[in-house]
Structure formats: structure tokens, C-alpha cells
């Protein structure tokens, strides 16, 4: 158990700066999800905490101690990789025991700890198998088992679920969350999937081009995004962005008006729009429209309600309280 602190953390590869100074305080036992589009530097950030990338500037602290120059092993962390990174020639048992073996733990303790972790992950009957004889989900569990047996103070997850199919991903997501709750280990989790971020995180960091655009609890970030990027990235379908002139009372400097698809509704009067096409998803229907002003928008409509046909002219309305305004820099105003 430990806290993780990042202070003004920066990273450059040659002359290209990829992380532009990140500050973060992770509390003991907290589950932090780092989310962002590919290339935003989220994996690099995690790898700097792990010690797999050098720190260009700033400081990484684990449990209050500066670890900038320590080897990964000395940082008391465990990492779960995207491709599992299991040792192909070792059995599941050996894969999980390898770190302990190197640490020179007594054999009896290794056996006990591996069995304990295997029990937790329902891997007991697979201990003698090799990774290639396991399914994707089982491999993923072994990778987590390898992390758990070491009883680290911090778990680092680097997109651990992105190689699994959609159904398994949902299942493993739940398992990871439960496991983390039960073990109470501080965790950093990198993903590009905003659903994973929303469901797993105690707090999430939304990263954009090497900067942390916003750090906060998932629902707080969703309801109150600090930048236009965060507003557009979190939420699916993404927030609708309209020119701010469409609101009569836009604050000064506002350029863009943002409204979530679920906050738009069809009304008798309001902004006129043409329905381009509709996507029925079962419980809800997404209606894509083009406004008279040329902007396009998506409305999330409960499937129980009436759904306009394609090509129909509709009127849109929304509550003033659901509007978000962004300036030309993409900041909230």
C-alpha cells in the first residue's frame, strides 16, 4: 500500500517533448485511470512510474520516496501488460513464481503465495499449463496473478483488456475492479476506452497531447468537463458542439456550445434540423441531424418514444442548465 505522487513530470524523446509536466497525488488504495486517445502519452506516463522509461524532468514518488532512478523491481510495483507478456516456455505456476524466485523467497512461501493468487483468480487447475494452452481471458488472469503474488504496493495496468473480445472485456473489467477493491492496492490503469475509464476509476485523468486536461471523479468529469477535448472524448456518442451564436445568452468569448446527446430533445418549437439517419440500438435510438446552420448533432432518444423518420424536419430543444460553453482555446467559460 502506498501513495504515488507525480511532480511536474516531463518526458522528452530526443527533442520531442511528449509529456508536458503532470502533477498528480494518488491516495493510498485509490484506483486511478489514465485515459486518452492514442499518442497522448498515457502509456509513457505509466512506464515512467514503472521505471521502464527514464524521467526527463520532475519527480516520481512512491510511498513518499523519490524513485526516479530506481530499477522497476526496487519500486515495489507490479505491471500487467497489454500483450500479457507471459514467459512462453514456463508453466503458469512458474510464470507467477518467477518474480518471487528472483527475490529469493523460500520455496514453501512461493508455493503458498502462488496457490493463494491462483485460487483468487480461479486458475488452480491451470497451474501446470503453458500460456499457449490458455485462452485470452485465462492468460489475462495469469498476468494479473503474476502481479498479485508479489504483493506490491502499486499495480500498474497498461491497457490490459484491449486484446480481449468485447464480452470478455466487460467480465474482466468487473473482476479487476472487485480484485482491486478486495486487495486495496493503489492502482494506475491506462486505457483508451472511456467506458473502462468511467466504470473502473475512483478518479480519472484525461490526457490530451501530453497534458492532463482534467483530473477528477468519472461522473464529475462527465458532468463538468473543463475543456472541449474532455467534453468530446468522454461520453459516447460524443457531445454535440454547436456554434455559440445559437444561444442568445452566451458568455463573452464563448465560441462553442456543447450539449450532450441525452440532453437534446425533440420539441414543437426550437432549432430546426433535418434528420440525416437514425441508428436503433435497442433500448435507445441515436438520431443524427443536421441543423439549419450547417452544424450536425446527435440526439439520444429513448426507443420507447417516437422516433422521427429520416429526412423529416424536426425541432430541437434543450435546457439552459445543460449547456456548456467553450472559448476559442477549448477552455470552459
Amino acid at each position: 500500500m502506498a501513495t504515488v505522487t507525480l511532480k511536474e513530470l516531463k518526458k522528452s524523446f530526443g527533442k520531442t517533448q511528449v509529456i508536458h509536466g503532470i502533477d498528480l497525488e494518488v491516495l493510498d488504495g485509490e484506483f486511478i485511470v489514465i485515459v486518452g486517445p492514442s499518442g497522448c502519452g498515457k502509456s509513457t506516463l505509466l512506464r515512467m512510474v514503472a521505471g521502464l522509461e527514464t524521467v526527463t524532468d520532475g519527480e516520481v514518488q512512491i510511498g513518499g520516496e523519490r524513485v526516479n532512478d530506481s530499477e522497476p523491481m526496487e519500486r515495489d510495483i507490479a505491471m500487467v501488460f497489454q500483450n500479457y507478456a507471459l514467459y512462453p516456455h514456463m508453466t503458469v505456476f512458474d510464470n507467477m513464481a518467477y518474480g518471487l524466485k528472483i527475490a529469493g523467497k523460500p520455496k514453501a512461501e512461493i508455493v503458498e503465495r502462488v496457490h493463494e493468487a491462483a485460487k483468487l483468480l480461479q486458475l488452480e487447475s491451470y497451474l501446470k499449463r503453458r500460456p499457449r494452452e490458455l485462452s485470452g481471458g485465462q492468460r489475462q488472469r495469469v498476468a494479473m496473478g503474476r502481479a498479485i503474488v508479489r504483493k506490491p504496493s502499486v499495480f500498474l495496468f497498461d491497457e490490459p483488456l484491449s486484446n480481449l473480445d468485447a464480452k470478455l472485456r466487460v467480465q474482466m473489467r468487473l473482476e479487476i475492479k472487485q480484485l482491486q477493491r478486495r486487495l486495496g492496492v493503489t492502482s494506475l490503469y491506462v486505457t483508451h476506452d472511456q467506458v473502462e475509464a468511467m466504470t473502473l476509476a475512483d478518479r480519472m485523468i484525461v490526457m490530451n497531447a501530453g497534458k492532463a486536461d482534467q483530473i477528477g471523479a468519472p461522473l464529475e468529469v462527465y458532468a463538468n468537463p473543463q475543456t472541449q477535448f474532455v467534453a468530446g472524448f468522454i461520453g459516447s456518442p460524443p457531445m454535440n458542439f454547436l456554434p455559440s451564436e445559437m444561444a442568445n445568452d452566451a458568455p463573452g468569448g464563448a465560441k462553442t456550445l456543447g450539449i450532450r446527446p441525452e440532453h437534446m430533445r425533440f420539441a414543437r418549437t426550437g432549432k430546426e434540423a433535418t434528420v440525416i439517419y437514425t441508428e436503433a440500438l435497442g433500448a435507445e435510438t441515436l438520431v443524427h441531424v443536421e441543423l439549419k446552420q450547417g452544424a450536425s448533432a446527435t440526439i439520444r432518444q429513448n426507443a420507447a418514444g417516437p422516433v422521427p423518420s429520416e429526412g423529416a424536419v424536426v425541432h430541437l430543444d434543450w435546457d439552459a442548465g445543460d449547456r456548456l460553453f467553450f472559448d476559442s482555446q477549448g477552455r470552459r467559460c
Partner: protein
Amino acid sequence: MAGMVERRGVGRWMTHLGLIVGLLFIFFPIWLAFVASTVTQPEIVKPPMPLLPGDQFFENYRRALISGVNAPVGWMMLNSLVMAMGIAVGKIVISLLSAFAIVYFKFPGRRLFFWLIFMTLMLPVEVRIVPTYEVAANFGMLNSYSGLIFPLIASATATFLFRQFFMTVPDELTEAARVDGAGPMRFFWDILLPMSRTNVAALFVILFIYGWNQYLWPLLITTDPSMNTIVMGIKQMFPSGDDTADWPVIMATSILAMIPPVIVVISMQKLFIRGLVDSEK
């Protein structure tokens, strides 16, 4: 793979016929050598040559193994075995380590060293044989196992092969090992080496045969018959001038010289093929 190209009827018979003829064509000289090693000297020189084995098998092989012509064949085989094993094992160890250094460590001149090694691929033993002989002689390595082995022990081919293999090992595996606390040599020993197992086996077969079949180098470096290797030894058995060649013993020696490489190939065939075709890691 079986049945990928399916042939029926006549095509199938023709394929088999072709294979059988080819096989007989290659096998016939070996058969003749075997027959010649089981008959007496007069029977060989009197035309027509016999095509069926005679009754001198044990006698001829006993003579070859124990006394030979210049040196006992048993002794020469031991020399060959030491040389071939030394070359194969030495080449594998050195090229594994150098490939490991080239792929996993950043040091100045890394690319330069790689290309220098790579360039030596273009220089076969024969091209550098005079300077190599000079060096070996100055080190006092003539007529010794070290002289037979060390000059041939560096292998650009094997280094290149292992380099290519190491580059296909995912980086995440290296990182996982680092997180697990394995240092570089521990990683090499515990993870990289077991993963290269099939490649090592394939190379061992190739290099063992390469070492076993060395002819020119042992011929130069050994003058003492007790240090002769079997492949060059066969040639040494040919008489100079008007002496009659002891053909049954020479042929028995040839057959004996074939046995170890055949054993190596057959016993390691499975690993060998996997090492060459397997991409599973």
C-alpha cells in the same frame, strides 16, 4: 501441409517413381562403399565389382577401428568428435552472447560491430587460411585440439540468426522480466535461452556437420597422425606412389565417418525442423 497439392492416378505414380529413382541414384554410391567395406581386397580390384555384401564386415571394421592405415580410425573419430563438438558448442555460445549484446545493449559502435561481424560472412575459411595458420602457429596451436577448434569458432551466420530471432522477442517480455527483477544475464539465462532452444538445436545440427566435415583446416594444422580427423584421414589413407590402397579399410572408414552426422541429424530431426520453421514463441 499434407494434401496441399493433391495428385491422382498417373501423376501420383510418376511422383513416386521420380522420388525412387532419385533416391536410388543418391544411395547407390553409398551402397557400393558399404559393399566394398565388407569384402576382401582382391574381390574389389577384380572386375566386375561385387554388388552384394561379403563376409568380411567384422574383420574390416575391426581393422579400421583399431589399426587403420596411419592412425586407428577410432582415434580419428574421437578427434573429429572433439573438434565438431567444440566448434558447434563454441560457435553457439559465442554467437548467442554476441547477438544478446548487439540486440539488448546500447553501446557506442553497436551498429559498426554488427556490420563488421556481418561482413566476415563474406570471407570463407579458405580466404583467410594463410593468416589464420600464421596466428595459430605462433600461438603454438599446431597439432592440438585448440588449434583445430578456436580459429573456426566465430560465426557470423549464427550471430546473425540469433540476432534476427532475438529481435522477434516482444519488448514487453524484456520489460516484464525487468519488473520481476531479473538482471540482464538472468533474463538471458532464464528466458532468452529457453526460448531459443529450437534455434539452438537447428544450429547445432548444421554446425556439427560443418565441424565434422572440415577438411582443409585440419589438413593444414595437424601433421601428427594421432591428431588427424577422420574426414582428412580418409584422404591420408590413399597411398602415394605405387602402394596398393587398402580399399576395404578405406571404405569402412568412409562408412564410419558418416555415422555420427547421421545420428545427430536423426536424433535431433524434430527439434531441427521446428527450429527452422517454427514461429511460435
